[in-house]
Subunit: 165 residues, 2 copies
């Protein structure tokens, strides 16, 4: 039973714990593996975008944020970013947040959603987004310095929001 | 004879004039067509990135900025952004700035350069970047609301920096 609600300041310690675990792995996000609490706060809690947390067994186990991918003449395309606690995988948390995020973006009037940087070797993420209707619309050659694999490609993924999914 | 040098505060009025003209056209950049002086300053003059201006006949006729496209594990890929005064086209200003920018990026140790949002209908820009070794690595469907053409695609363009160009 995964619940999703708007994040608030009281969630920060849980957000930081997840952010730190994800960044330390160095396999899915550009954050330096020693990224700080201040990095986590700037990235996840700001009045400039919406942040949501996923709750499982009364604990915060993931978060996502939603914002325009560009200003002005590009502001009809949403961007979103997701993290799931590496110690809580296999519960469908990413999928629940993804579906929630697509609904939220539709409610906000966005016409499409773009992910700018999905690490190509992060197969569970690539497959999840494909399952939720995203297509790989671009490949950035060797754009990510994977902690263990060296330079690997990153994908740009995109979908329109006018269909179910 | 186009000269290129680092920008300084005294260049701001010229930068604003060019920015305003380019934004008002609504055909190549996401800025709202009524973008302000403050928007121009935030975008073009900051300690967070390097800005250069192109000089022709003692006047500033274009500018570019150079910065990492991502932090941390993506910081080896540069991003750059260019504007040429719409009233000074056909002098090779964009090409001069592009070549200067590629050299500057190599000096700074970047391994590749990425443009995140080249409007597909901006044919002169697309051709220039292809001439300078960039490839279209992604297509963002209808991601730009062109002032006259409606929703059009934008391209992600990319090149490695380890060859001449």
């Amino acid at each position: 039973m995964i619940a999703i609600r708007a994040a608030n300041e009281a969630d920060f310690e849980a957000i930081w714990r997840i952010f730190h675990r994800v960044a330390a792995k160095g396999d899915s996000y550009v954050f330096p593996t020693d990224a700080t609490r201040e990095d986590a706060r700037a990235y996840w809690l700001s009045a400039d975008f919406k942040t949501f947390v996923a709750i499982l067994d009364d604990a915060v186990v993931g978060m996502y944020k939603l914002r325009p991918n560009n200003i002005g003449l590009g502001a009809h395309v949403a961007n979103a970013s997701f993290m799931v606690d590496p110690e809580c995988q296999g519960h469908g948390i990413g999928k629940s947040m993804g579906l929630h995020c697509l609904d939220e973006a539709r409610r906000d009037g966005y016409l499409a959603m773009q992910f700018n940087f999905v690490v190509s070797t992060n197969t569970p993420a690539v497959r999840l987004w494909q399952q939720l209707g995203f297509e790989i619309v671009g490949t950035l050659p060797r754009a990510f310095r994977h902690k263990e694999l060296g330079s690997v490609d990153a994908f740009v993924m995109y979908r329109f929001l006018d269909t179910l999914g």
